[in-house]
């Protein structure tokens, strides 16, 4: 069950490019992303229905799509019925949910906002993204605290393998809130460990089957829950037990950033954690429970210039 990564797009407190994600400093995940670039790309009437979470995800998705096009995918490969969308999130459109709660608490039933309610329904960001991007294949929102990115990728890979879609835009997005900070802090104070953190960031990967045209970043040759069998590549990114690259902090969706950076580095992008343009990278998520995962990514086309594939 393999796939190629044909496009990447990010938006977050670290900036708007993979280079900026690679250079991200701890703490940047608390900063809001710069969404100014949406203004030229989306009509104002459409922006009206998009909360900050949706705008952030949309910006990353637009960048991913433009990147894929720049790397050889045709328009028809990134819009229409044969393109599916999977959006993974730990907390979903949190601020809109709280806006809705505010409307109920402040004004009671007569003042509860139906717009805030419907936009807080967790599939709405994905639906609005699909509408905005002109994508009308299968659309799935994954919402859980335990590595929603893994199952989003598994689902996307299955859809590609069975021909349900020719391209899957897989996104991961989370936003932060002082309210959630408070709640998670209370749980930690009560002795709970292994709780996720927060971020204000989104990443999109454009996936195609391994025979993809154009210039893919990387191929994923192994994707599984838990550790992968056998020996893996020497270059490893580990996330869990407090470890992990900054950019997305310790948010439930942080593994997406690792995968994006691995693809970036495999393609020759500068990344201190993955120096010297590796041939293959293993991305591990090691927290116990349903979030444990391994992905092994390789330069497209298998071993090159005599390097060991692994």
């Amino acid at each position: 069950m393999r796939f190629s990564v044909c496009g990447l797009g990010v938006a977050g407190g670290f900036g708007g490019s993979l280079a900026e994600l690679a250079a991200a400093r701890p703490g940047c995940e608390a900063q809001p992303p710069d969404l100014g670039q949406l203004a030229g790309r989306v009509p104002p009437a459409a922006l009206r229905r998009m909360d900050g979470f949706t705008r952030m995800a949309l910006l990353a998705a637009l960048r991913c799509r433009e990147d894929a096009a720049a790397r050889g995918l045709a328009d028809a490969d990134v819009t229409g019925e044969r393109v599916a969308l999977v959006l993974a999130s730990g907390y979903g459109p949190m601020r809109t949910t709280f806006d809705y709660l505010d409307s109920v608490l402040d004004s009671g039933e007569p003042g509860a906002s139906p717009t805030a309610f419907s936009l807080s329904v967790q599939n709405m960001p994905a639906a609005i993204l699909a509408l905005s991007l002109g994508v009308s294949g299968a659309c799935c929102t994954v919402c859980q605290l335990d590595n929603p990115v893994l199952s989003a990728l598994v689902t996307a890979a299955c859809w590609l393998a069975e021909g349900r879609a020719d391209t899957v835009l897989v996104g991961a997005a989370d936003e932060s809130s002082p309210m959630l900070d408070y709640g998670l802090g209370r749980l930690r104070a009560a002795g709970q460990v292994g709780l996720p953190g927060q971020c204000n960031a989104a990443a999109f990967l454009g996936l195609r089957r391994p025979d993809a045209a154009g210039r893919p970043y990387a191929e994923c040759l192994e994707l599984c829950a838990g550790p992968a069998p056998g020996d893996g590549p020497d270059m490893v990114l580990v996330r869990g037990g407090g470890q992990g690259l900054p950019g997305f902090g310790a948010a439930p969706t942080a593994w997406a950033a690792d995968l994006a950076l691995a693809c970036w580095a495999l393609d020759g992008g500068a990344c201190d954690a993955l120096p010297g343009r590796p041939v293959a990278v293993e991305c591990r998520c090691t927290d116990p429970g349903p979030g444990r995962a391994t992905a092994r990514l390789h330069r497209p086309g298998g071993a090159m210039e005599g390097d060991r594939a692994w």
Binding site: P44, A45, L47, R48, R49, S107, P110, G111, A112, S113, P114, T115, S118
Partner: protein, 85 residues
């Protein structure tokens, strides 16, 4: 401020019509489809706004259709309701 002007200000603010100025909305302009181009989600939001801001209830969407045809129609509806009609 005349009721029609008040309604226009409230609509622009509460529906987040960032690209519209209240003064640009004509009293008789259709609110839905053409004119301001609001949709069914805006319709139910306006029902809540009218209740919250003016204390007047629109009971169902049949009643709503007439009341929400334009700013003038809405002002008229609110005034009639306030008079107890």
């Amino acid at each position: 401020m005349p009721l029609t002007d008040e309604i226009k200000e409230i609509l622009v603010a509460d529906l987040h019509l960032e690209h519209v100025r209240p003064g640009d909305i004509a009293d008789q302009d259709p609110l839905f489809e053409e004119g301001l181009g609001l949709d069914s989600l805006d319709a139910v939001e306006i029902v809540v706004i009218v209740q919250k801001r003016f204390g007047v209830e629109i009971r169902d969407l049949d009643e709503g259709r007439e009341a929400l045809a334009s700013v003038a129609a809405l002002a008229d509806f609110i005034e009639r309701r306030r008079r107890g009609a």
